[in-house]
Amino acid sequence: MSILQLQGLHKQFGNTPIIRDVSLKIAAGEKHAIIGPNGAGKSTLFHLITGRHTVSSGSILFKGQPIHNRPPYEIARLGLARSFQVTNIFPLLSVFENIRCALLWSQGYKYSFWHLLGKAKALNTRTEELLVEIGLQERRNLPAGELAYAEQRALELGIAIASGAEMILLDEPVAGMSHSEAKNAVELINRVTAGKTLVMVEHDMNIVFDMADKITVLVYGEIIASDVPSKIRGNAKVQEAYLGEVVEEHSHA
Amino acid sequence: MIEVLIFATLNGLVTGLLLFMLASGLTLIFSMMGVLNFAHASFYMLGAYFAYSISLYLGFWPALIVAPVLVGLLGALIERYGLRRVHKSGHVAELIFTFGLAFLIEEAVQFFWGRATKDYRSPDLLDFPLFTLFGQNFPAYKAFMIFISIAIFIGLYFVLTRTRIGIIIQAAITHPHTVANLGHNVPLIFMAVFGVGTGLAGLAGVIAGPVLTTFPGMAMVLGSIVFVIVVIGGLGSLAGALVASLLIGLLQSYAIASDVGMPDLLAWLGISFERDHPLNDIWRLTLPQVAPILPYLLLVLVLIFRPSGLFGKRES
């Protein structure tokens, strides 16, 4: 059963088409990576799925329900969480509050003004656990805006995974991290997404081929291939359009 | 009837163009710097007061030139030493700063010039009726106001479309973040734009002072209306500001000149109410009475139904 289904998705900004006829099925429990050169439209695709942008045409089904053109908060409530490529946190709130806020809806507090956060035992324990998991318990009382870059990335990830959503979209979660930080982050992602559906945009091919059950290659807003890693590696079109170039870049670096 | 219409139109035009002189500066500043300058009308007031003081010694004509320049310089200084400092704390802080500035300028004006209305008059040279229609005079000074306003727009239009600096400014309006990357001295441009914008407001004050009276409350009276205009027109749109200025100017002018109201409407509909009906006040409203609130009503309606304003592209 596919949990997410994109059908004939189009998106244009003004007259510029950015996403062109994208159709894709993602099975429940799958670890799916989306790769493609800069500007291919990967982030835009995420924005369409999570309601940040409206679609120009086509449809998106999540668990059989159409979710395109619905506001982000409704989509999030269905169990679809995401992180952002550009760090997107609550800068004045403490690290602890950032995570706690991300937990609130899924723990059923909604817009409550009759519960006191201090008295919400389960909520606070879960927040603490998550802080330990993302390795920020030492920084818990610091305003999130004052964290170092890698720590902010960890928090970004923490906010995305906090709600325990069934499906998690991560947009370049380890970009800009050092090698060891990235390794930790990947372990963390593996741990918290066990049994869940993960869609990830990532430029680091080692991580992609390590983690993904399936890889989709997006070039100029079109899917040129979508298959298991071993087939992608051998795919001539992908080699030509994308991989060769990246492998070259890597060998230079 | 027809003479009422003609004079209402002319008066509306005078007000509308005057408002645009303020609104254009405000729009320019907003487009460039993202700051909605709450104190904009205070610079207009300063223009009137400066011109009044200068005209006591040198007469009206030198004041017409010198006062706006002084106001512009003051504006540039305030940008340089005040606003720029606050800039890093974000737009809300900037808005609060200009709000405080408006407060401060009003108090400072009272300190230097006192609370009483100043006897700031139009020059003798223009103190004659330009034409008389149906026994009513149209003062030459008002024609002069129209003339100055239009001259300013033409100048502004020329500068914005034909000069290098104008093209940079235009680029900054549409792509606020990229101009810095092109290596232009953005802080200097900001200071200049703020200076010119406030200078324009000062000029508006110089020519409006004699007609709308020069008193410490004059900024308050016009200030929020100018705000209304730039928002209705669409923040950052010069064309929108022009349309909204004329719209508001004419709307108010017609409303004041008209003598209809709810009683006429009710009579026309054949409805009548007892005098002690709880909504009596509403049933007895007349259009001239509600003229002052029309701009705000329009603002709220526009913001509800078209939050980006009539000509707005950017929703900010």
């Binding site: - | 400072a108 300190f111 006040d281």
Partner: protein, 409 residues
Amino acid sequence: MLKYVSWALFAVALIVLPQIFTSILSVSILNQMCIAIVFALSYNMLLGQGGMLSFGHAVYFGLGGFMAVHALLAIENEQMMFSVTLIPLVGGLFGLCAALFIGSFSTHKAGTVFAMISLGVGELIAASSLILVSFFGGEAGVSGDRTYGPPFLGFDFAQNIEVYYLAAAWLFLATVCMYLFTQTPAGRMANAVRDNPERAEFIGYSARRVRFISFIFSGFFAGIAGGLFALNYEILTEQNLNAVTSGNVLLMAYIGGLGFFIGPIVGAIVLTLINSVLSNYTDLWLLYLGLMFVLTVMFLPRGLTGFLMMHRTPWHLGKLHLLAKPYAVTAVPGSIFVFSMVCIVEMSHSNEPTFNVFGFALDPSSFLSWGALIIIACLAFIALRRTLPSLRDAWDTANAIDTKPGVRP
């Protein structure tokens, strides 16, 4: 624990203050403070906690107040019968209704759009209040009498001190409620939406709904403040809902410090004092206030409370004493400068033949007094600037964490 102690101290202060400052004037200042604190706290729910800059908050204060006066009139005319102790609640409920209506369309966006709508609505209602005479009473306003209701525990509220204790009780209650609101999911999400409305939507919250909730609570408490105002002054006029009142509450909250719950309380107290004390000494007090506000925005963006809170780090590090001397050194030329500037300003404004300062009689018409003041001011300013670098150094030292094991660098 500390929390309960602070609340207890707050309650004790409220009870004891009028016993210390017993004059009629001080009780009336205390009453003003109670009203101002509730109002400023309600404003901070919008700006400080929710990121909504309002230029029209007096609308809810004024509407609540007008409704409260009408309730007083209804009691007086025996159309209704309830204790006047509940009048603030009437104001609050009406403020809430107004906020429900206005918030339904104005909380769509924060930032500039929200600020503009609040300005427009504020002007609209203030201008309408002069037209709709039967509710707002035109220029003269509406007045009532608080003594007609059934006595409450034997009090008929004829005296200001009785009103004070009633207001203080409401103040305490409202403050507790507003504090508790900050501790609820809705209150916390208000902070989150203030920081980053977009991200809030991706964790399941509609930014608009979150703002709306803060907005109506803010309207409610502003209405309570209006009700207290109605009880205290027994009259409301257009001034109570116009832009001046709206601006005033912005000043109070900002000068006090937006980022802290007690900020607006500090601001309300300071501004009420300035308002009532300074205005006795000089009719230029609004000029000073405006200057103070602009300087606060420029140099103390976190307000007076923020300034005090800056000293937490040196305090925790046990280095606060290092700052005492540099502060004193800066304060001397600083206060001389401010003082001489004030003298210059006041002297240029005064119509008296002599101007007395500390027993010196200065003559405003003589160049000597002007010259002396200006020279003093200039010297003090130069000295002030000289002291700043060492103050800055001292500040850095006092905030520097000595590298000890276990302390993060």
